[in-house]
């Protein structure tokens, strides 16, 4: 049983490694995410930075915009994990060779690392460019980690669903938004609190609960989505 477990993990890691190896060769997702995030960052910070709007209003609005940037960047970059497999027809080989749960785990890890990388790049620049005074940076980091996790998990599962449909681009946004909205609203409230210096409260636990629920749902539903 231990040997089986370690080879399941090896499968998941193989998928994860393959994703990043292909990504580094084409740099497609990194470029898309990077360009998108940077462009929106510039727009936001110019129009709402310290020159653009009063500090108090900025404190209320800027956390929202940070999450909007993260959401749309994720929507631009994450679905590719599954959509590309179907479009390049490599999905058939994967269906025949891979264990579904290990495949989902590998793709999820890829989505997580992509999202966390995005957050690590975007957030400090965002805070600096808008001169946002974050009173509880530790809490903000925790919210970004928990929120980013949920963002990646939800997006990966929805990506798997839409990859087999037509009009995948619009369908992803339409389907992912209702799923991710509770996450986003809780994360925005917590982020506002982190900027203002409020304590976390039970909301952070609820965010983690959301993450756990969506991840478990992902693992349970993926085999059904992936195979006939």
């Amino acid at each position: 049983m231990w040997r089986d477990a370690s080879t399941w993990a090896a499968e998941a890691l193989a998928v994860f490694a393959k994703e990043w190896r292909c990504e580094f060769r084409t740099r497609y997702a990194l470029n898309t995410l990077g360009l998108f995030a940077f462009t929106t960052l510039v727009v936001v910070s110019v129009s709402l930075g310290p020159v653009g709007v009063s500090t108090s209003r900025g404190t209320a609005v800027l956390p929202v915009l940070l999450w909007v940037i993260l959401l749309f960047s994720a929507a631009a970059g994450l679905p590719r994990a599954f959509v590309q497999e179907e479009e390049t027809q490599t999905a058939t080989a994967l269906r025949l060779a891979a264990t579904p749960s290990a495949l989902f785990c590998g793709k999820l890890l890829y989505g997580l690392t992509l999202t966390f990388a995005l957050e690590i790049l975007v957030t400090p620049v965002f805070v600096a460019m808008t001169s946002l005074d974050v009173k509880s940076p530790g809490l903000l980091a925790a919210v970004l980690a928990a929120g980013g996790f949920g963002l990646a998990a939800g997006s990966t599962l929805v990506a798997a669903i839409i990859a087999q449909a037509r009009s995948k681009g619009t369908l992803f946004s339409v389907m992912a938004f209702p799923v991710l909205l509770p996450l986003l609203l809780i994360a925005v409230e917590l982020s506002r609190g982190a900027v203002a210096g409020d304590p976390a409260g039970v909301a952070l636990l609820q965010l983690l609960l959301y993450d756990a629920s969506v991840t478990v749902a992902g693992f349970m539903l993926f085999p059904v989505v992936w195979n006939p």
Binding site: V158, A165, V214, P228
Partner: protein, 224 residues
């Protein structure tokens, strides 16, 4: 239609007529509401309730489809529940917006209940959009069922947890109150009766919808 079904349909008709009459004649006006506007309550709340029921029902039928042998009737039932949920949901949203206009001066405030119902509508729309983009019958059933189950997982956050976090303009609802009912008994009676009737109405229309879908399915049997 069989006599028993006719009887039940007739009873439902009478019940709903009584509810509507009761809404205007039997129940008193609520305190704190302007004019007759509190009457909307007796239509808005049952429809919002049914929309919620539809959401859960679609999720449960989808689970039965996925883990109960992939029977097409469960898939048809889930799809019908979503279509009805969308209809009732739109009606609930509109009546809610009208009431909000009268009470608070604005049709829309994005208070948590309003947010929840809109997100539910988005879910329904997304589900139907997904279905219409999939041609293969089995794929369509399987993928939309998975999405409905995902919706079921997210539903508690949508309907319960998120509203509690955010400040609410919504008046205390019967369903949420911690056992204490803050409304006059007659209002509560009409509300509960209306909700029960609307639920029965939902399942009746749903049953018709499923039977219709089954007939259409049979008529598109394979060409040899």
């Amino acid at each position: 239609m069989e006599p028993l079904k006719k009887l039940l349909a007739g009873l439902l008709w009478l019940w709903m007529s009584a509810v509507i009459a009761g809404a205007f004649l039997y129940a008193p006006l609520a305190r704190g509401f302007i004019g007759q506007s509190s009457r909307i309550l007796f239509f808005h709340v049952p429809m919002a309730w049914v929309s919620f029921v539809a959401f859960i029902a679609a999720g449960i039928w989808s689970l039965r489809f996925l883990y109960g042998g992939r029977q097409p009737r469960h898939d048809r039932a889930a799809a019908a529940a979503v279509e009805l949920g969308l209809t009732f949901g739109v009606l609930a949203t509109v009546t809610g917006a009208l009431w909000a206009r009268v009470m608070w001066g604005a049709y829309w405030n994005w208070d948590p209940r309003q947010t929840s119902i809109v997100v539910a509508l988005l879910f329904y729309g997304a589900y139907l959009a997904l279905r219409s983009s999939l041609e293969d019958r089995d794929q369509r059933a399987r993928l939309s069922a998975a999405y409905a189950v995902l919706g079921l997982v997210v539903a508690p956050f949508l309907f319960f947890i998120m509203p509690r976090i955010m400040f609410s303009l919504h008046p205390q609802s019967v369903i949420n109150a911690q056992g204490k009912v803050e409304m006059e008994p007659r209002m509560v009676q009409v509300l509960l009766a209306g909700s029960a009737g609307a639920t029965a109405l939902f399942f009746w229309i749903h049953n018709l919808q499923c039977r219709l879908a089954a007939l259409l399915e049979r008529n598109s049997a394979p060409l040899e």
